[in-house]
Assembly symmetry: C2
Homo-oligomer: 214 residues x 2
Amino acid sequence: MLNSPPTTDWREARRQSAHDAIVDAAWSLADDMGLAGWSLRDLARRAGITVPTVYAYFDSKNEIYDAMFGRAASIFAERMAEPFDVEGPREILVASVHRFCEFCTSHPARYQLLFQRTLPGFEPSPDSYAHAIAALAGARHRLSLNGITEARHVDLWTALVTGLADQQVANDPGGDRWTRLIEESVVMFLTHCQSTPLAPSRGPHRVGTKGPPT
Amino acid sequence: MLNSPPTTDWREARRQSAHDAIVDAAWSLADDMGLAGWSLRDLARRAGITVPTVYAYFDSKNEIYDAMFGRAASIFAERMAEPFDVEGPREILVASVHRFCEFCTSHPARYQLLFQRTLPGFEPSPDSYAHAIAALAGARHRLSLNGITEARHVDLWTALVTGLADQQVANDPGGDRWTRLIEESVVMFLTHCQSTPLAPSRGPHRVGTKGPPT
DNA sequence: GTCTATAGCTGGATAGAC
DNA sequence: GTCTATCCAGCTATAGAC
């Protein structure tokens, strides 16, 4: 009877749900007012509580940003891991870019927090980062299904995909000026990578690279 | 003798130089503390003046941001318009991407203000935008020297280039993980565009497009 | 855990002497 | 144009009753 109660209590669950409600309200505000355009007063009002109650769950505003990052990264990883309703490795790759761009353009504030480093003194915690790494592993897998395994090509891929999403978010939000280039971009990328033979099943040695020096 | 003095006075010149000195100090602070990480007090201290003196030259902090944008856009346009010390249209294209990425990575705060839209309520004034348009015209010209004239391909180009710069700034500042992919990227891009024949000198009609629907 | 009340500070912006 | 001095709104964060 003197034992302390188990940590996985219904209390814990309630606390967790209140915690999540605050993060939800924070994201709602960020979508409306911009990532840095809201205060703890605003947050408390939207969550239907008061500022000290916020501090019962978070030690600082930065901790709230970190929770927002963690949640967004988790959603991102889950979304990108969902199965694709197309067949063929190339079609899956195309669909993944469409999904990525849709993820980015649908919530610009989320895109800003996850993929641009714009908040003054904010750094995401390491475990939040794990989600992003998992998502990158998924992309690597989809690339490998297309015979792309070289690190150089993976980097080129991330540049191409983020460039499309970035231009779409920045210069044509709500439109399709860049997303409609996705299929063509994938064709360009695959054609290029498959035309630089590297004996993929023979090992990691490089053959006939014309690559940039330095 | 009762005539008012001409407006292009030495007074104007002195006022202009004081104005510029404040903008210089603002950029110096932005580089050190982040684009939004400084106050008017900080700015005055670094400029060696006081806050009310700042208000003798600018009506608000947003007006300072606009002046910063204008100056950065002007420098950008000038930098990208400088001649390239290489020969051949392809080599010029490669050199222009190197120059662009160097411009972006050397001052991340400047990159953030010019190419990412991250400040809460800030919109650059139209004349500041003129510089950016001039720079885009330069890129269009360099592309046309390589036979690239289609709007779709220009958009693909901007996505590719900004993607490289963005990844370099965000994930490997100070390194060359993405900038070393520039030449390969240009080869990939040109090979792709030149393999989609469009009878460039025959007019704007499209031939054999396999392009994305919708 | 949640509140009322407020501390302590910093932000942008101004008044008015010189 | 430049200063000293200050206003006031807003911010994050906390004290202490319940």
